[in-house]
């Protein structure tokens, strides 16, 4: 486990990238505050053409403010934003939102209630001949499967249909950048799963660079090419969904994207002893305390008597379909026991209150210094 320096930049490679080096979007050193409350602290990110970036984090972490800055709905106080190499906002310059060519999908969809669907979609096509506007609007509606409802009023649609129209409307003027502000949060779970696949497909089909804000880690991992995890106005870590899941830079990141079991130990000979064996602790000083985080699915069942195994007592077992959730009691090697959650295929799962030989996959285990929590 290597421990890169904080704060992270969301740049895919080196931080030497200057505004315009082939990036669709480059935001550099953004700070923002409302009154005395700091909302963004030195946030930088960049986006390649066609790339989908998800901003995730708990509520109040500044992700929505960041999105509004990119859209031009808030004025940049410090730092800069460049689109295709041209600076569109910094402390002195502010290109108005309507001049940016940036599309946006809102949490409440913001469909104009007094306009029909086709007029909603055509709203952003001003300046073209009427026939062309209408044709383009109908084409976009067809693409989201609502062509035959073109004359309906927005309130006649279901939530999922409204979301599709909002997406079609934002895509119609062929924006250089697409911004999505929690676009699925007003929909029920099943619909959300369906629509996120559809939305990703539409964005990728059009090759539109997109920034999406969500507080749902599953949604972020599903939608994103790259994820930027935010907390208290900073980007803590950025990378592919797999990187964030498998190589979290902080305990916060590890916990944000999945369940973890926590264990405190200390470093002996570069390793930390845990109830499931010793874990390598690179970069930690000898004798230092260490925080060990284990994903439930890293604990796997072994055949009885297999080498390197540990015997756990099954305290509880819940069958959840393909997978089962187990609570395991293990001797902590100091005379007590620890209770850990484990997740494993139901086929391999024992009945409750038995004994189970288990092992550990090392790629689901992370070691941090305790102060890394901050």
């Amino acid at each position: 486990m290597n421990m890169p320096d904080l704060p992270f930049s969301a740049r895919p490679s080196s931080a030497t990238a200057r505004a315009g080096d082939g990036y669709r979007l480059a935001a550099d050193g953004l700070w923002h505050s409302f009154g005395d409350a700091g909302v963004l602290r030195d946030v930088s990110l960049s986006l390649a053409p066609g790339e989908i970036l998800c901003l995730v984090g708990p509520s109040g972490c500044g992700k929505s403010t960041l999105l509004r800055l990119l859209a031009g709905l808030e004025q940049v106080q410090r730092g800069s934003i460049a689109l295709d190499g041209e600076v569109i906002a910094d402390a002195r310059r502010h290109v108005l939102p309507e001049k940016r060519g940036v599309g946006m999908v809102f949490q409440d969809f913001a469909l104009f209630p007094h306009l029909s669907l086709v007029d909603n979609v055509a709203f952003g096509l001003a300046g073209r001949p009427a026939a062309q506007r209408r044709a383009r609007a109908l084409e976009m509606l067809a693409r989201v499967g609502l062509a035959e409802r073109a004359q309906d009023a927005p309130h006649a649609l279901s939530g999922g249909q409204q979301q599709r129209v909002a997406l079609a409307r934002a895509l119609a003027p062929q924006p250089r950048l697409m911004l999505l502000d929690e676009p699925f949060s007003n929909l029920d779970v099943r619909l959300r799963h369906h629509l996120r696949a559809e939305t990703r497909h539409l964005l990728k089909e059009g090759g539109v660079a997109s920034v999406m804000v969500t507080h749902d880690p599953d949604e972020a991992m599903f939608m994103a090419d790259r994820i930027a995890l935010m907390r208290a106005g900073r980007i803590l870590q950025a990378g592919s969904p797999a990187e964030l899941y498998r190589q979290p830079a902080t305990p916060f990141a590890a916990e944000f994207f999945g369940e973890v079991n926590r264990y405190r130990g200390s470093v002996r000979g570069g390793r930390v002893a845990t109830p499931l064996g010793e874990i390598a602790a690179p970069g930690l000083a000898e004798g230092a305390p260490a925080e060990v985080l284990l994903r439930p699915e890293a604990i796997h069942p072994l055949a009885a008597g297999a080498p390197g195994g540990f015997v756990a007592e099954v305290v509880e077992a819940h069958m959840l379909g393909a997978y089962s959730q187990l609570t395991l009691a293990l001797p902590d090697g100091r005379g007590g026991t620890v209770c850990w959650q484990a997740q494993m295929p139901s086929a391999a799962c024992p009945a409750a209150s038995g004994h189970l030989p288990v092992g550990l996959y090392p790629d689901g285990v992370f070691v941090f210094p305790p102060e890394a929590e901050a």
């Binding site: 505050s33 709905l73 004025q75 939102p97 104009f112 007094h114 952003g124 409307r169 934002a170």
Partner: protein, 574 residues
Amino acid sequence: MARESVVPSRRGVFFFRAGGAGAGWLLICALVAALVLLPMLSLAGHALQGSGELWPHLLAYVLPQALRDSLVLLAGVGVLVVLVGSGTAWLVTGYDFPGRRVLGWALLLPLAVPTYIVAFAYLDLWHPVGALQTGLRELLGYSNPRDFRLPDIRSMWGCVLLLGFVLYPYVYLPARALFQMQASGLIDASRTLGAGPFRCFFGVALPLARPAIAVGASLALMEALNDIGAAEFLGVRTFTVSIYSTWVNRSSLAGAAQIALVMLAVVLSLIALERWARRRQRYAAGARQAARLAPRRLSAGSGLLVMAVCALPVLLGFLVPAGYLVVEAARRFRYAGLEQTILRETFNTVLISAIATLAATALAFLLAYTLRLARTPFANALVRCASLGYAVPGTVLAIGLLAPLAWFDALIDSASTRLFGLSTGLLLSGSGAALAYAYVARFLAVGSGGIEAGFSKIPHSMDDAARSLGASAGRVAWRVHLPLGWPAIAAAMLLIFVDCMKELPATLLLRPLNFETLATHLYGEAARGTYESGAIAALLIVLAGLLPIVLLARVGQGSATAPQAGAAAAVPSV
């Protein structure tokens, strides 16, 4: 990386928040605010220059009486409107009795009768040889008015009663809304805790409604202070009457300005008092939509009693004066038909009111939209300044306008004479433009309050969506806010129009020569004592005044739609 939390330049945050209003929008708003504040500033200037010889006279003979009469009037009207307004509101929401539904909206009707018309009607009705006293004498067997007469209505108590019974709806309306919507859960709770009807009212409902009552009462008192006809006809020398007679009889602008400035101080203390009375408003303004209060059924006897109590204000404040006007107008119509003068005055009234309404609505839309765009302390302060005119009595506003308008007219006239050899005369004062200006300054807040309330129903994401789709701020106003806010805008227009039609004090002072509106015509007839000749004009004004009440009455009945909410918001807009 620097760790200190850097707050960069705040310029942008103070003036406009991005997304944002450009300087242009704010500049226009500042101009509007300046035009509204101009009369007040000119007033202060004139008062300070002083009218050396008149001031001792004013100080000794005019101001003490004006102050005393005004304060006694305000105190009396204040007590009466709070008692009648909140009492009837509670009876109508808390109890079920015969005629409750009808009385629920009928209690609003006196709002349609301007103060000078109610005085006008009662003066004639109550006249010693009028219908009422003659009938009473016949009934009691007296033959000579000297043997039996009722107390003279031309007195302070008469003025308090008449104003109180037409102004109480300002308290009734917000108090009823509060009792219906907000207090119901708490009143239900107090009932389950064993509180009887009196404890429910005095212990829970009344304290909860205090902020609403304060707002309503302050509006009623501003109307009372603003009134010119009633006080003058009834012999009460309020500030308004003193200002008017100082200007008309003594032609002393400085003297009038000095009284006006004292009056402005009274208005400001009134506003301060209202703010104080509705401190801690927050606890009453729960956003949660509670169930409506279920009215308590009354027995037949007490039901009839409550009905009579609630019917009395409607009778005194609307049915009697309106009935009188209908009878007199019909008599007049049979006698003389629809006279040419009435038609011309109606045309004048509608024309000047329509012009002022269009201008005020357009500016109010601009103010409300800029406030929405900018959402900064600066924009907020500008809009509040532009709304101040509503608190300024018509006479004060008019006196404040006289000097700047005369100066402007003289400037244009001399410039035009020098350049083209052509005299323009009194360009603004002579054309009715001055009057329209005064109407706009005075009623701008009615419009901007209503339109702001309408806009608050449009989610901000609409603006953001339209902007991100490439529409400029102006196009968003045109394509989104105008159509979506239209019901509220139309309601605001109606309210402004009717307010303009009813306006008397500023109209008397600023109208061009030989330009009569319905209100000034009525004032002239009343001043001459020829009441019956003014009945048709008065009836027309009352009929126009009924229009917004139809709108308001529906707010209380079931769910309020946007225009009605706009209308309701526009009423307590100070």
